[in-house]
């Protein structure tokens, strides 16, 4: 009861101080090139897998040129495992896609966004809490669920660069981001003989966000 009361009080204070009027709410959608990095099964190598992501954005202004943002997202991603094939005639080795690893993650990234002086560019940095939901491995013959092999939570460090296009009071932002997994994705770290003892998830993301301001415009608020 007391916690609820405090939450309501905080929300009222937030509205009262005009913070919501300095904030933006929006959506984002984009493509995601994910890749596992780290130990791979013997002779295999990891390759990128292009998928998509979508979510909502909440930008809270801390200073004139500084925002903190929360962007809960659903990320469909994964990686490819490639195996070397010897081409005897040409005496070359080429890696071909052998196994497709499909990973679904619900992520909650928290960014600090720094806006450039001309209000066009934004640099973002922060951490991402990821909740892997499903990991499937399939080849041309069959698909197996290996979700039990992965941890429930992963932590990543994220870096981003965005270009801001003002549209009246709203913004369209084109974002380029890089996420580097810090924690091990698989849950068999203590077993060095495991076929994949140490794996991180990395991804490059290109997305577009459309942000709408919350509250009345500053001009209208002036008496």
């Amino acid at each position: 009861m007391r916690t609820k009361f405090l939450n309501v009080l905080c929300l009222l204070l937030l509205v009262h101080t005009g913070l919501l009027a300095q904030s933006y709410l929006g959506i984002h959608i984009g493509v995601n090139s994910g890749k596992f990095s780290g130990d791979s099964p013997r002779n295999f190598q990891y390759a990128g897998k292009l998928q998509y992501l979508a979510g909502i954005d909440f930008y809270l202004r801390l200073k004139k040129d500084l925002f903190i943002s929360f962007s809960p997202s659903y990320i469909k991603s994964g990686s490819k495992l490639q195996y070397p094939y010897e081409n005897i005639e040409e005496e070359t080795t080429e890696y071909r896609d052998s196994i497709d690893l499909k990973l679904d993650i619900f992520s909650i990234p928290i960014y600090l966004n720094i806006i450039s002086d001309n209000d066009r560019w934004q640099f973002a940095g922060g951490f991402e809490l990821g909740f892997p939901m499903r990991l499937l491995a399939n080849n041309s013959a069959k698909e197996i669920d290996i979700t039990e092999e992965i941890n429930d939570v992963s932590v990543s460090m994220i870096f981003g660069l965005g270009y801001r296009i003002p549209i009246e009071r709203s913004y369209l932002i084109i974002n380029l981001g890089y996420s580097q997994g810090l924690t091990n994705l698989t849950n068999n770290l203590e077993d060095p003989d495991s076929y994949m003892p140490r794996i991180r998830f990395t991804s490059f993301r290109l997305s577009a966000s459309y942000l709408l301001p919350l509250g009345k415009s500053e001009n209208k608020q002036k008496p």
């Binding site: 720094i114 003892p197 140490r198």
Partner: protein, 311 residues
């Protein structure tokens, strides 16, 4: 008349150059002292810059024990190692208080004779880093910044002795080359202090945690360093700067033995009159631990380092 015009032209050029010197000098400065950068010492200044470092070192002769019976090491092979290092860094100033930097380095270590190739192999470590540099405090004479970075290393070990051991002693499926990717994260403080217009002091410390080369084992890493520099370019007619530095490091791109650290002491001479760049030669004495050798190996390292400042 001709002489008068020449004097006026030269005077204008001189005044213009002086004005540029006062306003366009991008080299990090505090209280009139322009700091001499040292390759292994990250500095606290929020500036855009591009850095390259190229280094090579040769170790003194060491004895490598490869056979142990009843705790007694009985067979030793003598040899030397060569170390090579190439390093690029770009830092982008975003605001007066924050900068983003990316770095890529390639470090190689290889035996120079058959016996050292046999015992130490050929090792390369490619490292990429990305991080933030944030100004904490800046006063007239000193500046303190903090950094946080994530490091991705990819090490390739070619080891004949390990291959033979795996095959003969342990009877496991093995390969002569092994690729070990590791990741760690570190953060720390960078400090600069202008003692006078000529002399300055720089220091840094980084601590972190992450993977080691041994699977299933994580390790702490650290780097600390101190440099004392003298820049004569802006107080005398000598366009040179000097620096003396000390560094201790347990980062995996330099040290391949868990729980041990490398130390280096050195001197730098550089051309320091440039308004946008600094180029110099560093010579240092490095004590570095290497696998299967009890004492740290002493190496002499030569570095050519250059730094170009944009703003």
């Amino acid at each position: 008349m001709k002489t008068l015009l020449t004097i006026i032209f030269v005077s204008i050029c001189h005044v213009y150059t002086m004005a540029q010197e006062e306003t366009d000098n991008n080299v990090p400065e505090l209280s009139g002292h322009y700091f001499i950068p040292v390759s292994i010492m990250p500095n606290p200044f929020i500036k855009s810059h591009f850095t390259t470092n190229l280094g090579i070192a040769q170790s003194s002769e060491f004895e490598n024990f490869i056979l142990e019976i009843d705790g007694e090491k009985i067979l030793g092979l003598k040899g030397t190692l060569i170390f090579a290092s190439l390093d690029f860094e770009y830092q982008q100033k975003i605001k007066d208080w924050i900068a983003l930097y990316i770095n890529y380095s390639l470090n190689a270590r290889l035996g120079t004779e058959l016996q050292s190739i046999l015992t130490q192999g050929v090792n390369t470590v490619g490292s990429s880093r990305i991080g933030w540099l944030i100004k904490i405090v800046e006063k007239e004479r000193f500046m303190l910044s903090g950094d946080i970075q994530v490091n991705n290393h990819s090490a390739t070990f070619i080891s004949i002795s390990q291959f033979v051991k795996d095959l003969v002693q342990d009877s496991v499926v093995t390969s002569i080359s092994r690729q070990v990717p590791i990741l760690n994260m570190n953060g720390g403080l960078r400090f600069a202090y202008a003692i006078s217009k000529t002399f300055g002091l720089q220091a840094y410390s980084d601590f972190g945690y992450g993977d080691s080369y041994k699977r299933g084992v994580s390790d702490y890493i650290y780097r600390i360093g101190l440099a004392f520099d003298a820049n004569l370019a802006f107080t005398t007619k000598v366009p040179l700067g000097f620096a003396a530095f000390f560094n201790a490091s347990a980062v995996p791109e330099n040290v391949h033995v868990a729980g041990k650290s490398a130390t280096s002491t050195g001197l730098k001479i550089s051309y320091a009159a440039g308004q946008h760049f600094n180029i110099g030669l560093e010579l240092s004495r490095v004590k570095i631990p290497i696998p299967n050798v009890e004492e740290k190996v002493i190496s002499t390292l030569a570095f050519i380092s250059s730094k170009y400042y944009f703003n």
